[in-house]
Structures are given as C-alpha cells and as structure tokens.
Amino acid sequence: MARRSVLVGAGGMGALAGLGAAAPARAAGLIPPAGAGMRPTLYPMRVGLDQLIDVKCCIRPLRAAGPNLSAEMIGDRLVVHNYGHGGSGWSLSWGSAEIAVGKALSVLPRDVAVVGCGIIGLTTAVVAQRAGLKVTIYARELIQRTRSFRASGSFTPDSRVALAEPAGAAFGDLWEQMARLSWKTFRTYLGLPGNPVEFGDSWALSDTPIEKRHWPADPAITDSFATKGVPVQNSEFGHYNERIKDIVPQAVDVPAEENPFAKPYVQRSSQMYFNFSSYGHTLLQEFFERGGRFVNRDFHSPAEYAQLPEKVVINCTGYAARDLWGDKTIIPVRGQTGWLVPQPDAHYAVRYHNVSVHSKADGVVVMNNNPDIGEMLGVGNSMELPDRSGIEEALKIIAPALAPATAGRV
C-alpha cells in the first residue's frame, strides 16, 4: 500500500490546480485521459465482519542506519549480515540478497550456510544457488511461519527502512540499487502459475481534494533518535521512493466520468504486490529443486555459528537478530493486518481515511493505520498479539465508502 500518499482534508488547492492544468491539454487531445473516459465496472467487495478469517501481527525490524549488510568473523567463519529491513524486507529482498551473496563470494566458497528462512533468508539462499553455491538453510521455521508471512505484502521499498540522518546520504544510492534490482526481479514472476507477484488498481477515495502528505520537522520537538535511541517524529524517517518513480507507477487523479465510486475525489495507482502462499511456494520449490537443504535449528548465541560445517554464513535473522546478536539498534515497529475471505473477482484495493482493503489471492488484507501518526505508528512497540478491535473498526469505516457511483449499477 502506498503509505505516504495519504488523504487529507485541508488545503486541496494543489490537487485542484493540477486538474485544472491537465484539462486543457486533454481537451486538445495531447494527453489521453487516465482511463480512456470510461467508468470501470468493479465487482463489489464484501467487507462484513462475517468475512474476517484472520488477524495477524508482526514486528518490522527498523535499524536507524538501514539494513545491516556488514561482515565479521566468528571464530574462523565469515558471517555476512543481511537483516534489519524495516517494513521493506519483501520489497528489497532481491537487491539485498545480491549484495550479501556478493560479499560471501569474495572468499570463493563452494557452499554457504544461510541462517533464517524469512523472505530475506530464503531469497538469499536462492540467489546464492543461482551463483552456483551449495546452500543449507538453518532456521527455526520455513517461511510460512516467519514474520515475513505476517506482512501486508505490497511493494513498499522505503517503509521504515532507515532514519535519514543516521543512514547518511550514501544510503540513498545503496537503497536505489536494491530497489531497482528487486523491482526487475519481481517482474520475472509476473504471470507465473499462481500469480506469485501481481499488479492491481489501488483506489484512494476522499470527501475532500487529495494532496500528498508531507512531514516537516516540528521545531518544538528537540529530542530525536540521537538523544532517545528511537525516532520521535516522522521527519526523521528516510524517504527514497522519489528515486525510482520513473519505473514505479504513481497515483493519478481520476476524472469524474471515470470514477467508479460515490466519493467525489479519487486517485488511482497501479500497485505491485506479493501473494504470500504462491510466492513462498515458488521460492521454496526453486530452493529444493536446486538441491537446497533445510535444517531445523534454533541458535542461542553467535558463537554457535562457528559450529556450522560451512565456512561462510549469511545471517538473515530479521527482528530475532536483536536478541541473538545483541543488536540493540533494531527498533521494533508493530504492524497489524486483518484478512477477509479471498475475493478474486473484486481484484482491486481501496483506501479511505485511515483504512485500506486490498484483495489478494490469499485474502483481502485490511489495515487501519492512522495517517496522522504516519511512520511513527507502532514505533517501539514489540507487542505481537493481534488486536481485533482495530480491524473491526476499519471494516465499519470502509464499508460505506465502497458504494458504487450509481446505486445498483454493478
């Protein structure tokens, strides 16, 4: 979900001016209208409580400096780290794995160990195999029981991935490298059986003109990550999506004649997202077909890495690195999703106020994220028990907004 394109009620002059500027050009036939002038017919989405089948919670591992991709020696084992991707693990997985495996290859190993089997671990293992290495994954669980499967599963490559100042200017280049390589690799999964990766329309609805939300620093707040060890306001977060807007579809205003909803202000964007069941299965299938081995193992200290038979270990332990490696720079950021019965015919996403519903192959994912809190939502909160009431509230808010432009038209 495009988390930063948030709906606000006040001061919509920018958006109105934008529409005004586009209209004459469109009338002159220079710019085709966004939807070719036709109002799309959307299959109704059922968002009643009777459809709710799951509420999932997870913790994003935010590191102020960005993901840890450093290397160190434990005994005579080379350990290459690949963890701490905040809310961007799925989205950066291929690019991040490319960097970690590249470092592992620098000592010419024939086999490597990967610790952890979330989206980062499993992707890293497959990238290592594609580089010709024999790979064993050591982990507590296969991907289906990891935190990665409790994400929302959209391409959100700069969601809580770093804090701007501690990460420094150089991180932007590294981030862009990871994001671009990941984006292109995800495209190789489009159209495969089971649709592991898909695109869908994401509609933002509003009662008032829509404008992009910005987070200027509040001068009244003198504390920061530097003094508190956690971010204290939204302006501290690093934002990098502008760097790849040449390839990632941006939101466009929907003219009234193309608006399928009853709400007066609508934007549409094309959103890339991941279907967990299919994607996990596809990745595991490649891992095992290439001769990968999975060993069920729980590690209790970094010293245990030196007991592994492989001389090179890639550490992909996500939030667990906070305790296992004593990395207190990992800041927990709680997130929660509700899941409705899959509705493949209603193949789109809708956002309204603080609520989003997104129809995916494995269910309709529901989120209730207060836009006034922004990236700070869940910061420092490591409570991983779901709270159903937030999802129930979300469904009540979004249900009336899903009404079609003309009653009974669908």
């Binding site: 729980d298 209790h300 490591s382 991983e384």
Partner: protein, 144 residues
C-alpha cells in the same frame, strides 16, 4: 544434537562398565538436573501472568508463537540449562524484554522443565546451572 547426547551417554556407560570391570570404586554419580516442585509452582504463577497470553494457557503456542513443549526439547537439549533463564530474563516477554527478575526467570524455567516431563527433585535449580539439558524421559509407555 541428539546423536551427540546419546553418544555421550553411551561413552559414559562404557566408562562406568570399564571402571566396574576393573574393580575400581564406583564413580561418583554425575550431577543431574534438578528443580523443586515449589519452584515450578511459583513459575506457573509467573507464567499465567506474563507468558500465557502469547504462548497459550497450556504452553501450546500458535502458528506464530512457539509452543514451549514438544519442539522445545529439540531446541534446547544439549545446552547448559542456565542459558534458558538468562534468555528469558533478557528477551522475554517479547513486548517488555528485561522485565522479568532473575528469580522469576529461574522459576519459569522450572515450570517449563516440569511441563516437558523432567521430574522435580530435592535440589533447587540455580540461575547459573551449567548441566546440559538431557533428553526428557521416554514418551513411549511400556507395553501392558
């Protein structure tokens, strides 16, 4: 992990047989894992308040939260028992790591050991217990 433990047991047995065969004095029994029933009972109270909300009333866990029986033994067997209260004290509960006292962590460990079939004894468990966690008693009941 399991092979190593079983291997160690076989070696210890052989040493005992050899020692006995050579007519030497019986070796002093190695220290065995012990906790008291009182420790486990106190641990049960801590568990109910601080742990059950995530790990379940019966330690059964969920898809997301580890169960504390069953696979628990595979995860911890062969490791110093004292590592477990140390882990609990620094990492649990996940929403408030570091909030358990050392005593609470030891009592919780006793309760978890009890739930996994290890018998209580006379000697209380200590925070610095260096004995490696042995395999639990056999789960196969003798044939009637």
């Amino acid at each position: 992990m399991r092979k190593r433990i079983i291997g160690a047991g076989v070696v210890a047995g052989l040493v005992a047989v050899l020692a006995g065969g050579a007519g030497l004095a019986a070796p002093k029994a190695p220290p065995h894992l012990s906790y008291t029933a009182d420790q486990a009972a106190a641990g049960a109270q801590v568990y109910a308040v601080r742990c059950a909300m995530c790990h379940g009333r019966r330690m059964e866990g969920t898809l997301e939260t580890p169960a504390l029986t069953g696979k628990f033994v595979a995860n911890w067997a062969g490791r110093p028992v004292g590592d477990l209260p140390a882990y609990l004290a620094r990492a649990m509960p996940q929403f408030a790591p570091g909030s358990l006292t050392g005593d609470e962590a030891v009592r919780l460990t006793a309760f978890i050991l009890q739930a996994n079939g290890y018998a209580a004894g006379a000697r209380p468990l200590g925070a610095a217990e260096r004995i490696n966690l042995p395999l639990p008693p056999p789960i196969v009941a003798p044939r009637q």
